[in-house]
Symmetry: C2
Subunit: 216 residues, 2 copies
């Protein structure tokens, strides 16, 4: 059965920002422990890493997240996801195509796809993909090969044509969550707004609270 | 059933040196067409590529190689190998560990592992790995993260302790093949000695001939 997932606060763990494997596990656990609700889903993304390190970190994260029922999503590397039995996989437009990714992971894993414009959103195979990432909404320093910035106004238009749950990504931090949720995002994905923050628990709680307010 | 493989002349295709996907297919086909025997096994290695491009090139190479019964080996990305049903996978010391790679590919695929010293060779799980790459024997410009150069003398010592078929790699070109085979290598792996050569067919034939002489 496919795991239930909640995109509200989607933490993308970057080892450079999070202090490597140990830092990522610690950050994820802290960001989950927020009293008023923390991150709801976690992705591992380490574009500079070799795969032996990916596997090690993915096993460590899975061991930390499974007891809390928080899905672990593996970016790009489906072989790593299969090995550690992750909850799902996230692919970009230049990664393995969604149809092929689904073929590899089977029906019971979550599959996310990055999109950055209306054309890419219209091309998403709705019976294959479970959620889309939409971005970068704002300028970001944490993904060097990102597409052109969308902006909040265009993002709101994209949310009106979406056919799948959508998480906003790119330059998102405190003060930007409410507007994105109001524009129609089902959640926000953050990297540096939690990774590398002095208090990841507090950071997660504040982001989550800002999102919840807009849900009312 | 696991495909039979012959390491005699192992062509590693690099898109930068081979003119991208089309150039790689053309090079492989030319290098196979040598009258006196050409390359015997082909690996795709494209560390700079995103995976959608890997998949496209791997399908194209497989279509070209299958009719000739030449095994296609995919470097590092086991997800790509599974998708295109490649003959095998090659992993390095920092890639997915051989035991885990075997778990993903099952018993009927070829599994190769890079080694560069006696300690790494002694640690190879013999019931899991099918062949080892040993190198870099000589200095190479085509693999930027290569280990320290072994040299021919040390390579000959390593060949005396090997327990699996071994292919020499690293800086190998015409004039170096006979000595490596005489030292005990079951074959030689080349990149630039065929990729980017004006006449890949002739280059492959000359390399193969030099290897065969040492077999007598």
């Amino acid at each position: 059965m496919k795991p239930i997932f909640n995109l509200s606060l989607y933490l993308v763990l970057d080892p450079d920002l999070c202090g490597g494997e140990q830092g990522m596990v610690a950050t994820a656990l802290a960001a989950l422990a927020a009293v008023a609700g923390g991150v709801t889903i976690v992705q591992l993304r380490a574009p500079k890493w070799k795969k032996r390190q990916w596997v090690s970190a993915a096993f460590a994260l899975k061991a930390a997240l499974d007891p809390l029922n928080i899905p672990l999503i593996i970016n790009d590397h489906i072989d790593v996801a299969l090995l550690v039995d992750a909850a799902g996989v996230h692919v970009g437009q230049q990664d393995i195509a969604p149809e092929m990714a689904r073929q590899l992971i089977g029906p019971n894993k979550i599959l996310g796809l990055s999109t950055s414009n209306a054309g890419q959103m219209a091309a998403v195979p709705l019976d294959i993909v479970d959620y889309i990432g939409v971005g970068p909404v704002f300028a970001t320093g944490t993904k060097l090969d990102a597409s052109p910035v969308i902006g909040l106004e265009e993002f709101a238009l994209l949310m009106q044509i979406k056919s799948l749950p959508a998480v906003a990504i790119g330059g998102i931090g405190l003060g930007r969550v409410a507007a994105l949720r109001a524009a129609g995002a089902d959640g926000v994905a953050v990297v540096s707004a939690i990774c590398g923050q002095a208090n990841p628990q507090q950071a997660a709680q504040a982001l989550r609270l800002e999102g919840e307010i807009s849900d009312v």
